[in-house]
Symmetry: C2
Subunit: 414 residues, 2 copies
C-alpha cells in the first residue's frame, strides 16, 4: 500500500506537467475520460455492486446506500457532467492585467493552476468524476480521499481515468486516490502542506468542521447554510408564498434551502396563516417564537437551538420581528454567511439589508435556491464557499487558480 | 484586563459600522489619525522611551532595539505612510462584474471588506500605524497583537488613534490592541474563528510557521523568500553583475533579496571570478558547490542546508548547473515560491523558466528587489504572500476585501 505522503508527492511531481498542459491536451484528456467511462461502465458497476453489498452487510442507512449506488444512468450523468466541463473556458494562461512601470519593467498578472488539490468527500462515487474533471480542466493534479465504503467504486473509476490519460500522453499520476481510507488518515492527509495547495472538504458539517480545524493546508470551507428570509411589511405576499415554498421544499437537503422565516410584525397576522397552510400542506413542520404561536397556536414552540440549526429537512423556524433592523441583527447572530433573502418593496429597507447583511449572497425578491454555480451561469460548480478568503459563494473553475506575476526587464536594478 | 475573546468580539461588533462607512468618512478618519499622530508625538515618544529602557534592561540585541526605537522622524514617516494610504482608491463598493440571467434575475459581484483582520507582529511600533491605516481604508476593523516589548508604544499610538476616531464619529472599538501579550496568547488569538476573518502574521519565519500551523482562522502566509537567480549561457554578463549585486546587497535583510546564484556551466569560467570580486568587495560571503570551488578555490564549500536557507544576510550560495532544466529543478526543490529570476537572452529558455517555475513572481532580466508593493505601483503594501489562496505576491488594499453577490429579482423561483 502506498502511503499518503507517497501519493501526495506523486501528485505534486505530476503537477508540473499538468500545469503547463495546453487547453488542447486537457480537452483531449477530458474526451478520453468521457469515452473510457462509457466504455468501461460494466467494470465500474461491478465494483459498485461489491461496495453496495459490503455496505448493506454493515447496516448502512437507505439514504447512504442511495448515495453510494451507481447505475448506468448515473454513470451517463457523470459523463455528461464531464462534457459540461469540457465546454467551459480554460481560465489558465489568462493575462488578467498588465502594466509598464516608469522604469520600463513590464508586469503581467497571469492566471495559473493552484498545483495540487486535495478533496475529502463522502460515499458519492459520482463526485470522483466531477472533481477530477474540474481539476484537470484547470491544470491541477488531484488527491482524492473518498469514503472507505466507496473505495472499490472510486478505484474502478480512477483506474479507467488513468488509462484514458495514458492514451493521450498526460501524466496519469496526476490523479491519486488515497489507498489509506481510515478515519485517522484524514489527519495525516490535511498535514501534507509541502505537496498540497488547497484542501476542499465536501460533505456534512462535521467533516467540514474537522478539516477546517485540523488542516495545515489552506482550506476552502463549503456548504453550511443556515439561510433566512425576512418578509418585510411591504412584501408582495403572494410572491412571498411562492418564494418561501420554493426555498423550503423544492430541495430541502441542500445548503441554499431556507431554514428560518423572519416576518415583520405588521404583516404577521395576515401572512402567517396563509404561508403556514401552504407549508404544512407540503409536509413542513413549523417551529415558532412566542408571537408566532399567538397567531398559529398549533405550531411547536421554537427552542433557542432552532435559530442556529441548519435542518436540511422539512422544518422551518418562524420568528416575528419588529422590522428590518431586528431581522438584520438576528441574521448577524445566527446566519452562516451563506444566502440571506429580503422580500420587500421598500427601497430604504432593501438597501439597508443589502449593505448590513454579511453573506456570500444577499437576495432581494428571488429564491435562495438560485445561489448555485449553474444558476449563476458558471457551468459547473465546485461547491459554495462560506468563507471570505480566496472564494466566496458559488465557485467555478477560476477558484481553482491563482496568479503568477511575470516581471520582464532589460537590466533594471533598484 | 480585557480577555482576548472580549477584544475580538468588540472588533467584530464594530465591523458592521466600519464595513458600511463611506469613503468620505474613512478618509476623514485617516486625516484625523494623521493629525493626532503629529500632535501627540511627545506622548508616543515617552511611551517608547519606557519600552526602550525596559528592553535595554532585559538585554535585547542592538538590532531589535533599533526596530523598537521611535524618533520624531519615524513618527513623521508613519504619518506620511498614512497619507499615502489616504490617497489610495477605496476598493470597497466596487461592482466587479454583473449580469442578467435568462430568468431575469440580476447578479452583481460586489467588493466588501473582509470584516475583522487579525495581525501578529514583532516589536516594530511603526507597523501599528501602517496596518491600522490599511484596515481602515478597506473598511476592516483590526485586532493587533504586537510584541510585549513594544506594548507601551503601541498602546500610546492606539490611544491617539482611538481619540481621532471619536472626533470623526467612527466606532473606536474597531481598533483593538490585545492586552494579553504572553507567548501563549497567540494560540488563543489564532483560534478566534467566530470573530476574525483573516490572520496575517508579519515577522520572522518562526512566527509565520507557528501561526500557519496553529491557526484556526484563515491565514495569509507572508514573507519567506529563498530567491534564486539563474544566469543562462546567453545572459548579458555586465547587466547580470549589476542585477545580482542589487539583489544581494541593496537590502539583504528583506524577503525579495537573492539567496542563491545558479550559473550555467558554459559561462561559469568567465563569470564566477567577475561576480565574486564584486560581491566579496561588497562584503558578501560566498558558499559554493564543488564545481564552483574548482573555479573559486577560496570560497567556503556549501553544505546541503545552504540550498534551503534564507540567509537575510550578506551570504550567497553558488551552484554551477548544466542549464535551464537543472536550474528549474533546483528551484522547484528549494525555492519558497517567492521571487525567481532568469538572466538570459534565449527566448526558449526564458519561456520555459516562466512557465515551469512556480512562484509568486518570475522575473526576466530585472532585479528581484522589484517584487514589492510600491515598486509594483500598489501605493502601499500589506506584505508579500507566498501562498496561493486568496493573495499571491505583493498585496494591496484589494487583498483585504472579499466579494458579496447581490441577487435581485421580481419573484423568481426555481
Amino acid at each position: 500500500m502506498k502511503t499518503i505522503e507517497q501519493q501526495c508527492k506523486l501528485a505534486f511531481e505530476a503537477s508540473i506537467d499538468w500545469a503547463i498542459a495546453s487547453t488542447e491536451l486537457k480537452n483531449k484528456a477530458l474526451l478520453a475520460l468521457i469515452r473510457e467511462l462509457r466504455v468501461h461502465e460494466t467494470i465500474i458497476l461491478e465494483a459498485n455492486t461489491a461496495d453496495m453489498d459490503a455496505a448493506r452487510a454493515s447496516g448502512i442507512s437507505e439514504a447512504l446506500l442511495d448515495r453510494l449506488l451507481l447505475t448506468p444512468e448515473r454513470i451517463e450523468s457523470m459523463a455528461q457532467g464531464l462534457e459540461t466541463i469540457l465546454r467551459l473556458n480554460d481560465p489558465i494562461g489568462q493575462i488578467i492585467e498588465g502594466w509598464t512601470r516608469p522604469n520600463g519593467i513590464v508586469i503581467k498578472k497571469t492566471r495559473v493552476p493552484l498545483g495540487v488539490v486535495g478533496i475529502i468527500y463522502e460515499a458519492r462515487p459520482n463526485v470522483t468524476a466531477d472533481v477530477v474533471g474540474l481539476a484537470l480542466k484547470s491544470g491541477n493534479t488531484i488527491v482524492l480521499r473518498g469514503s472507505s465504503s466507496a473505495y472499490r467504486s472510486n478505484r474502478a473509476i480512477v483506474t479507467v481515468f488513468e488509462s484514458a490519460l495514458k492514451q493521450v500522453g498526460l501524466n496519469s499520476e496526476g490523479i491519486q486516490l488515497l489507498e489509506d481510507t481510515s478515519r485517522e488518515s484524514v489527519t495525516e492527509f490535511v498535514s501534507m502542506r509541502q505537496y498540497l495547495s488547497v484542501m476542499i472538504p465536501r460533505g456534512g458539517a462535521d467533516l467540514i468542521q474537522r478539516v477546517v480545524k485540523e488542516s495545515k493546508v489552506p482550506t476552502i470551507e463549503t456548504g453550511v447554510g443556515n439561510c433566512h428570509v425576512f418578509v418585510d411589511q411591504t412584501a408582495d405576499l403572494k410572491k412571498a408564498i411562492a418564494i418561501i415554498l420554493n426555498g423550503k421544499v423544492q430541495r430541502p437537503s441542500v445548503c441554499n434551502s431556507l431554514e428560518t422565516l423572519l416576518i415583520h410584525e405588521a404583516v404577521a397576522e395576515p401572512f402567517l396563516p396563509q404561508i403556514a397552510e401552504v407549508l404544512i400542506q407540503a409536509g413542513v413542520e413549523l417551529r415558532g417564537c412566542p408571537k408566532t404561536k399567538t397567531i398559529l397556536p398549533q405550531v411547536k414552540e421554537a427552542t433557542p437551538s432552532d435559530w442556529e440549526t441548519e435542518y436540511l429537512a422539512l422544518i422551518l423556524a418562524v420568528k416575528v420581528v419588529s422590522g428590518v433592523n431586528e431581522a438584520i441583527t438576528h441574521i448577524r447572530q445566527f446566519g452562516t454567511q451563506h444566502s440571506e433573502l429580503i422580500l420587500s418593496n421598500d427601497y430604504a429597507n432593501i438597501e439597508l439589508f443589502k449593505r448590513k447583511v454579511d453573506a456570500a449572497a444577499v437576495l432581494v425578491n428571488a429564491s435562495t435556491r438560485f445561489v448555485d454555480g449553474s444558476e449563476f451561469g458558471f457551468g459547473a460548480e465546485l461547491g459554495i464557499s462560506t468563507q471570505k478568503l480566496h472564494a466566496r459563494g458559488p465557485m467555478g473553475l477560476n477558484e481553482l487558480s491563482t496568479v503568477k506575476y511575470i516581471v520582464e526587464g532589460d537590466g533594471q536594478t533598484r
